[in-house]
Symmetry: C2
Subunit: 421 residues, 2 copies
């Protein structure tokens, strides 16, 4: 039997990120998650890899994600550099529809994306605390370079994080319009990491495809992401998403990602009346409008009251607690995906004290911000205590990762972290 | 705050199943999984619900599935009838893009598919052994009506089925081009089943979107479904898929589905040379052609030998063991989906004796057949012992279900099973 030399390419396309941004300009602000970002076939398009920022942050959200957190299992700084070099090369290729490694030999790529388009694949890398020191050991001579903003995450009210789904030294967020393309990317990176990094936890996620191509609904049935800052407003992005001069040089133009696996008690949620759900969210379910308003993108009136003098948007509603006006102007860029891991046996210790198979489904909450201390942590500290939605949502795991600036051709991801000061 | 009466519809379309079949006629035979079945936007289209056969069997495979097996938790025959009536009504509506129940009141639908197209949703129902008797009890007076073909599945070589992922009294296979639409359908059925049926196990799955719109590759990187009988050949379907006069009246025009959750050791598979993978499958990876042939749909030559007299398609290759010529002409209609449930901690008891996080990913193998005794069981008995692929695949769970004939308007699914003889 012939060896069948194995060299193929997926259909490559020039990046249309620029065109995509232009085409998107006619749409209203804030509906970040729904925009496909281009008028062409979403899956045929590719996203640029090289640039000042990593892609996958303000990139219009693709329909699928595979998020993976890795433990670094080497003590050698050079191993980590080699890994990041290989990952950079592989990612620059895969995002353009090529195989992970350039070769005509066998075994270089799992091959399951042959015949698939680039599907707007992006891969976004982040560094956790363990990159800088682990169990008190400065493995790579980077301890002094840990950014102040890469804090140890506080424990929030209601947190039920399990260690097998929490933390990690490096994060990889692969997003694509085809789930196989996203998984394929991580799978090739895992192969390139052998002996240097191992998967610690992963989460698969998806976003639905609304016909109006705008804000998608999450599994609670509400539009998700309406309140996001407009990603086409670079001043807003500089203010809330990208690290500026306050950060170390290698983080400038980068961002911090908070990921949380939030299981939603859908069985309970589905038993609530729509009007009660709307009080919890602070928005109408159908239109997505703030209570008392008509359009999804109307600004909520936090002072409006009904005939009895009760606030239209309740004190402990999600909207009120999350909005910038309630958080000293703080904003984060949400980039969440629904997840659906089937069912698992669950014993509930609160009413209705049920035991049985329950959906293991909910939200892979992800958000990007310039500084988590004035972003997610500030906003979620209050929400974790007061948000009525917390009665239906349990945070199971997650992590905080510093996503370095983008890379230019010839560099590798995070290179300036490893360079002499 | 207003109650906000909650009545909406998803965008409905006339079924274009007929047009889809016509448009598909120009394509080669057998590439069942890749065809979208229509030249229009796949997700905007809807599939017919009423008909002689249930949809979701020979329907061109949608991109996503949510498969759920239920335990019946009632002892009342009337409860089961009521459940099937409600499920029939809800499914007939949801497949056409409507809410599960017709109502203007609150709480009738989780609402997370508002704004989503029908996405070619199909829901296919099946009855397990527990419908007829459970733990020796004839709960619904149906024990005498259990079809002979609904056998107790034998234990195959290498089976590692766990009870939490195996069996069930009723099966529901929801398929759609949007994962949220498939999950939504099952979620509404679960709500309608309260007190009558509970989820036992579920599995989420997906199929990639090849640019040529033909056979998709599974996670092993090989095209999956090439050898299927042509679903447009009604004589073949009558011969291999649909139950005929040999079955009870309520099963005529129905089919039997075997579902198996097959975890694939992708870490190991990815380390094998392509040429070795090809020997295991019996096909070229890139083209999908049988070894020694050029085109995916060429018929494999089981007698062909190389210069040394060795069989081109090895004795223990997947193709040789699965092909009709090796199985007294037996054929099944594969309708498999890849699954990706992230990673889980796995201790391997065979080389390389590794412990750690491994992909919990693989194949939700599903196949339809006229009789499982001459279909899956006959074929898989030999494969489970000899197929080299078994070194990389572990069956974790699954079930066998009798899928009744289709329903006509005014009937409910399985109605004739419950009618007096």
């Amino acid at each position: 039997m012939s060896g069948c030399p194995f060299h193929f390419t997926r259909r490559g396309f020039l990046s249309i990120a620029g065109a995509a941004a232009a085409l998107g300009a006619g749409l209203g602000a804030g509906h970040f998650l729904g925009d496909k970002g281009n008028g062409l076939s979403g899956s045929a398009a590719s996203e640029a890899f090289w640039g000042s920022h990593q892609s996958g942050i303000i990139t219009p959200a693709q329909n699928h994600t595979y998020f993976a957190a890795f433990d670094l299992v080497t003590n050698k700084r050079d191993d980590v550099i080699k890994l990041l070099q290989n990952w950079t090369s592989a990612t620059s290729r895969m995002t353009q529809g090529l195989t992970a490694v350039q070769e005509n030999s066998e075994g270089g790529d799992s091959g399951d994306t042959q015949g698939l388009p680039p599907s707007r694949l992006t891969v976004t890398f982040g560094f956790g605390a363990g990159m800088f020191s682990k169990e008190g050991t400065d493995r790579y001579g980077l301890a002094a370079r840990r950014p102040e903003a890469l804090v140890d995450m506080p424990v929030f009210a209601g947190d039920q994080l399990v260690s097998e789904r929490t933390g990690g030294d490096v994060s990889v967020q692969a997003c694509a319009d085809d789930p196989q393309v996203a998984f394929h990317a991580v799978r090739q990176l895992v192969r390139l990491a052998e002996g240097i990094a191992q998967i610690r936890w992963t989460q698969v996620g998806f976003i639905a495809n609304p016909t109006d191509n705008r804000t998608a609904r999450n599994l609670m049935g509400f539009k998700d992401g309406t309140g996001n800052p407009d990603t086409r407003n670079s001043a807003l992005m500089d203010q809330f998403v990208w690290v500026g001069q306050e950060g170390p040089e290698w983080m400038r133009g980068g961002s911090y990602v908070v990921a949380r696996r939030a299981r939603i008690a859908l069985e309970h949620w589905d038993k609530m009346k729509t009007s009660f759900q709307e009080q919890i969210i602070g928005r109408e379910k159908k239109s997505g409008a703030p209570l008392g308003k008509k359009d999804e993108f109307d600004k909520g009136d936090l002072d409006a009251v009904d005939a009895d003098g009760n606030l239209l948007i309740p004190e402990n509603s999600h909207l009120r607690l999350a909005t910038a006006a309630s958080n000293k102007g703080a904003q984060i860029l949400r980039r969440s995906y629904s997840y659906n891991d089937g069912v698992s046996y669950t014993a509930e210790r609160w009413p209705p004290w049920r035991q049985g198979m329950e959906y293991d489904a909910g939200l892979l909450f992800m958000c990007y911000q310039r500084d988590p201390r004035t972003g997610f942590i500030q906003i979620f500290d209050k929400m974790s205590k007061f948000d009525m939605m917390g009665q239906f949502v349990t945070h199971i795991g997650g992590g905080l990762f510093a996503c370095p600036s983008g890379v230019h051709q010839g560099e590798f991801i995070g290179q300036r972290l490893f360079q002499a000061v």
